[in-house]
Symmetry: C2
Subunit: 556 residues, 2 copies
């Protein structure tokens, strides 16, 4: 180890030769590095992985110290990470996680951007987003499956199970938002995607997530209507400010069927205000954060007002988890919450089954390992058609970024089966190296987020944050390899608390037992959270699949 303390290209090791004391530690090391791989991270030099400012390490000296510590960490030791900086190493035991992380957490009355930025400037914290600071970001594919599922649900709800013949309007082609065009076309539809950063557009074209770049808004609309009329799938990027172009399309009476948005609205310093040149944005945000915030919020109000306008005309409109409604409301726009968030609209029924973004990566670095796991998934769940469709399309269309990885949504009673199978495949040599199994913090029972995952809960318990904390603790208690608790995530300071876990299937018997427990208990939190909130579907799942809920057990 040299004590380099500045930016440099980082890429995880591949293959079976390891530099740590065991695969659990090696996995953490590789996944930390993989998050910063230039193929994966949005701004690797600044340690920014995705979501505006979501980082994998607080600064380069912290990165170096984590690497050094992970390489010497024993099988009964645990490294503690406080907002991207390693602060301790303690003796635990072999069932314990090797790494525990807490990122961006602030006491309630101080849980705002102003205090966060003050602390960030002092070097005392970092923004962890959901999978950036917890080392399980796998590039745009991560959100692609969720986005695919969401648009499939929109199609099921309003358009006879297909988006063919419809036009979707959205904005934001960044780390998460870049999945939207492909998710729409995978569902047969046409998408117009606005972004103010030409590089975001070009990058999605290069990765085949986006089909074409239009020269102008008129050009985009023309391409869109032509494809729609032929019921062809097509995704179109167009350069511009969404706060300008979305109202313009409304004024033009453009035939839009579905409207959403994934600009980085959760952070008002990352949303381009009206009338500002994209290239001046960064400097302006730095020099005059208060003025920038005010202008960004006012622009978002215009943007959201136009979205409501489309809804008034009959379009299907939803907030895609970036808090744009909340920001527009702060700017004084009163109808901001007229359209719903995507979770209550489409995702909650899945959460009742403990379903959520199950994902895994091949530490071998070999694409063939993922192909083999894809096959295993198809064999394990032959009756699940939409899963099969996704796995097939993903195999064809998804461009790996960094270590080869796969995601699919699995529920309670499914994830543990998949994990156990993967561990067996490592044990018997089918796979070239261990598999890392994790998930997004956006999951069935791992997040409290009243503008997104827990919006409009049936019992009004949206803001109760006990659940993600129990989720983290039960994952620590079940044998996860690393566990994290974050604040803010995709919706920003003061708006969410969420937890994540990653568990390494290294082919050992112990790993098999850990995988089975973690991948039962982790989605189990989703089932019990929704049982507690009064969802009938969750009750059914608990009954059918044997999830224990003490208040439902009596003496009778």
């Amino acid at each position: 180890m040299t004590a380099t303390s500045g930016p440099r290209p980082v890429r995880a090791a591949r293959g079976t030769s390891i530099t740590a004391q065991g695969w659990q530690q090696e996995a953490a090391l590789r996944m930390l590095m993989n998050n910063l791989d230039p193929e994966v991270a949005e701004h690797p030099d600044e340690l920014v992985v995705y979501g505006g400012t979501g980082k994998a390490a607080r600064n380069w000296p912290s990165f170096d110290a984590m690497v050094r510590t992970l390489q010497t960490l024993k099988n009964d030791e645990t490294m503690l990470v406080q907002s991207g900086k390693p602060v301790g190493v303690m003796q635990t035991h072999e069932w314990a996680p090797r790494v525990l992380l807490a990122n961006s957490n602030l006491v309630g009355d101080w849980a705002n951007w102003e205090e966060f930025r003050r602390l960030d400037a002092l070097g005392l914290t970092m923004y962890g987003q959901m999978t950036a600071g917890s080392w399980i970001y796998i590039g745009t594919q991560g959100i692609l499956q969720g986005t695919y599922e969401t648009f499939a649900a929109v199609a099921a709800k309003k358009f006879n199970d297909t988006l063919a013949g419809t036009i979707t309007l959205t904005a934001g082609l960044g780390g998460m938002g870049g999945a939207q065009p492909l998710a729409v076309t995978m569902n047969g539809g046409v998408a117009i995607c606005v972004d103010c950063d030409e590089r975001s557009i070009d990058r999605r074209v290069e990765h085949r997530y986006l089909d074409v770049k239009a020269n102008s808004l008129d050009h985009a609309l023309q391409l869109a209507t032509e494809a729609r009329d032929k019921r062809e799938a097509l995704s179109i990027g167009v350069l511009g400010n969404a706060a300008e172009l979305v109202p313009r399309l409304l004024a033009m009476d453009a035939p839009i069927d579905i409207v959403t948005d994934q600009t980085s609205a959760h952070d008002p310093l990352a949303y381009l205000p009206l009338g500002m040149d994209f290239h001046d944005m960064k400097q302006f945000a730095k020099d005059k954060p208060a003025e920038f915030t005010q202008r960004a919020r006012e622009s978002m109000a215009k943007h959201v007002e136009a979205m409501v306008g489309f809804q008034d005309k009959g379009a299907e409109v939803f907030d895609y988890g970036n808090s744009i409604r909340g920001e527009a409301q702060l700017a004084g726009y009163t109808r901001a919450f007229d359209f719903p968030g995507f979770v209550p609209a489409y995702i909650r029924p899945l959460f009742c089954e403990g379903k959520g973004p199950f994902r895994w990566a091949a530490l071998s670095g070999e694409a063939s390992d993922i192909a083999k796991t894809d096959k295993a998934i198809l064999e394990l769940f032959p009756e699940n058609e939409s899963l099969a469709r996704w796995i097939k399309m993903a195999g064809e269309r998804v461009h790996f970024q960094g270590l080869p990885a796969r995601i699919c949504w699995l529920g309670y009673g499914e994830r543990d089966k998949a994990g156990a199978r993967f561990n067996d495949m490592v044990a018997d040599g089918t796979l070239a190296a261990p598999i890392v199994i994790g998930r997004d913090h956006l999951d069935a029972g791992s997040v409290a987020s009243p503008y997104r995952e827990t919006e409009a809960m049936a019992d009004g318990s949206d803001a109760i944050a006990d659940w993600p904390l129990l989720n983290a603790m039960v994952n620590v208690a079940s044998g996860a390899s690393w566990v994290s608790i974050h604040h803010g995530g995709g919706v920003g300071m003061g708006r969410s608390i969420h937890a994540g876990q990653v568990t390494v299937a290294d082919g050992t018997k112990l790993a098999g037992e850990k995988v089975r427990r973690v991948l039962t208990n982790d989605p189990g939190m989703g089932v019990i959270r929704h049982v507690d909130a009064g969802y009938d579907r969750a009750d059914e799942v608990a009954d059918e699949r044997g999830v224990r809920v003490p208040m439902r057990e009596g003496d009778a």
Copy 2:
């Protein structure tokens, strides 16, 4: 088990015959019940243990379900408790805690009393305080040691190591505040203690924490000055509203040397407003919470203004962790923060050594078990004089409430030794039954609370809440028997996040290993938290006692 679902007297079982599947579960069962023992709890029928509204269980059906679940819980199962209600049982492993609890946690923007009360009224949460919802409250002794240490530090700072010849003025003789008179007299001083509830005064007299009850303020002052002049220790209770009596004493130019307060100011619905009769208080708070809050805050402003007045005249004045300064400020009093909190003033140097409120209880129910552990402590740390003085005085003066218990402040490298010794004493039959070892959430590395434990941190990191979350996770990972994460505690909604652990020394080899790890890592969090914040004393402790801090380990 009968399905009684209403109030009834609860008392923990004693002795070695157990109804649960093992001592770890039995310990949780007994400590839950012990928290509700009429000798221990302030309002057992309402499940309220202490601190205004701090509860051990959400409601009686939840209590019944927890008892039922604990009695059948296996050695590799874990019960999950969400704000006093059991919500799940999951398979974990034998190193895992048997219970995981999260109480009163809310997402930042909703972390206020209004939302909490709305959710509480819906039956969706409860207030856990610090040791109420985490089942390790041991009655007034719990706070006595901390209060004793604090007044000893005041004496050391300003009065030549003794309070003899001084008068302390305080208010609040409730669950926590009731320790003040005895702590002052143990330090040789005179205390005048105001409370508006005659029962609080009578109870402290009955338990010998308070020496006498005065007939009037004048009488109290007369008794106080007489005792002070003779340099005798004396504690005097006086009935009345502190918001009236403290300003009155200031106006009278009473010769007060030290002023503090422990009314339940953290909850503005539990502080008696000026001009309201004590007997109307409860109903009024229920009927008109907003008006009550406003009046309570205005009264606190008067109370705090008088405290500042005493400080202006040269008295030693400090906030004793009940947020009264914050509430007074909310009422518009601008000098509220002119006097410091007790932690930066007296306690932080102890936190740098990982020192904090180590406590234990004898599951046998036998006082002789505690006497034996007292002796063990004196043998283990013969060089620590103030510890010896405390243990001796506590043995003579402390009236046990519920299961016999002891508390003393021990630091990094001490707690593990004490825990291991206790476990040996259970193993070899010296003690009649296992010992439960826990602590207050108010500890060196387990709390983020900018108005109390983390007020005025050297690096400005007061509001960073990563630390208590890491503390909880590392305790889960080290073998604690139950672990809890709470919000609010002694300072109220939005103002703190804190964690607790309890570990059972049942005499087995496994328990011995767990005890050693937990009681090393738990205070270790205090050391690394203060190393990170830049305290030299913490650096020294880390060096001397071998606490690993990755950023201090280099290649050189």
